[in-house]
């Protein structure tokens, strides 16, 4: 009888990677814009970049690197059938996503409070190069933040599926693919941090 649901591990993973390639191209486009404007306005980019809080940037870097470790360990844990450990590690990753968003909220609201947002009063007084920097900052970190939210939501779903034994040592591709998505979020941030927060 062929009533068991059809599973294709390799196909599922290949599909996820194909999607991730489109994500690479998407963020790649934003980094190209950054490069072109940096080439045109190096001094303005340095001045605007120095206004971003390096400590927030570094803290979020540590969070994402560590949560990437947690979800990678979770994949190994589920492969070994260690359910409790998997739940703990996926939970830690979800917590990191939340803390990341809280940091982002504090960071953005301070800037927005000073009128520094696209078309905001403080922004329009700036030279064009700084406007370009902050606009790109909002678009890139905003799109990245959206990915953090989606990644976090996916991992909540994964946590529930693991708890319900729907994801287990014999069928874990959903956890693995969600983990791949989470690593992509980490990957993009690895470039955002030096280019936006540390530029001099």
């Amino acid at each position: 009888m062929s009533e068991a649901a059809h599973k294709d591990y390799t196909g599922a993973k290949l599909g996820m990677w194909l999607f991730l390639f489109t994500e690479l191209i998407l963020f790649g486009g934003l980094f190209i814009l950054y490069a072109v404007y940096l080439h045109r306005y190096p001094a303005e980019f340095a001045a605007a970049g120095s206004e971003l809080n390096e400590v927030f940037g570094a803290a979020n870097t540590l969070l994402l690197l560590s949560s990437s470790l947690a979800i990678a360990l979770a994949t190994s844990a589920i492969q070994r059938g260690a359910k409790g450990r998997t739940l703990w590690l996926v939970g830690a990753t979800i917590a990191s996503a939340l803390i990341f968003m809280v940091n982002k909220y504090v960071e953005w609201s301070a800037k927005i409070g000073h009128g520094l947002y696209p078309d905001g009063p403080a922004m329009l007084e700036r030279p064009p190069g700084e406007i370009a920097f902050f606009s790109l900052y909002y678009i890139t970190t905003g799109l990245h933040g959206l990915h953090v939210l989606i990644g976090g939501a996916l991992l909540v779903w994964v946590w529930l599926r693991v708890a319900a034994d729907a994801i287990h040592a014999e069928d874990y591709v959903a956890l693995e693919n969600s983990g791949l998505y989470w690593h992509l979020v980490d990957l993009v941030w690895i470039f955002i941090f030096p280019l936006y927060y540390l530029i001099i």
Partner: protein, 94 residues
């Protein structure tokens, strides 16, 4: 069905990769405080690319994948490199 080629990466490797990533982040922050002119951004990009390589190879398991997936990944990188390269030709010689 579970894959026939289930490859479990040891926790030790993941933790070593994580430590390397933390150390490289420290290096990135440290060199950003030294004024190297245009080399700052190139150095930052080189370190970021190396860190990405570690994340993709180990955390994302690419090192242990089959040739098909590695080939696909290479094509995606090539596409990205082509459109970054051509944009720069355009910007530079405009």
């Amino acid at each position: 069905m579970s894959s026939a080629s289930k490859h479990i990466v040891s926790d030790r490797i993941f933790i070593l990769v994580w430590l390397a990533l933390l150390a490289l982040t420290g290096v990135t922050v440290a060199v950003s405080h030294i004024d190297l002119g245009p080399w700052n951004v190139w150095l930052a990009l080189s370190i970021a690319s190396f860190k990405s390589g570690l994340v993709i190879a180990f955390f994302m398991h690419m090192k242990y994948e089959n040739r098909l997936l590695k080939g696909f990944f290479f094509c995606a990188l090539l596409t990205l490199a082509i459109f970054i390269g051509f944009t720069f030709f355009d910007v530079h010689y405009r």
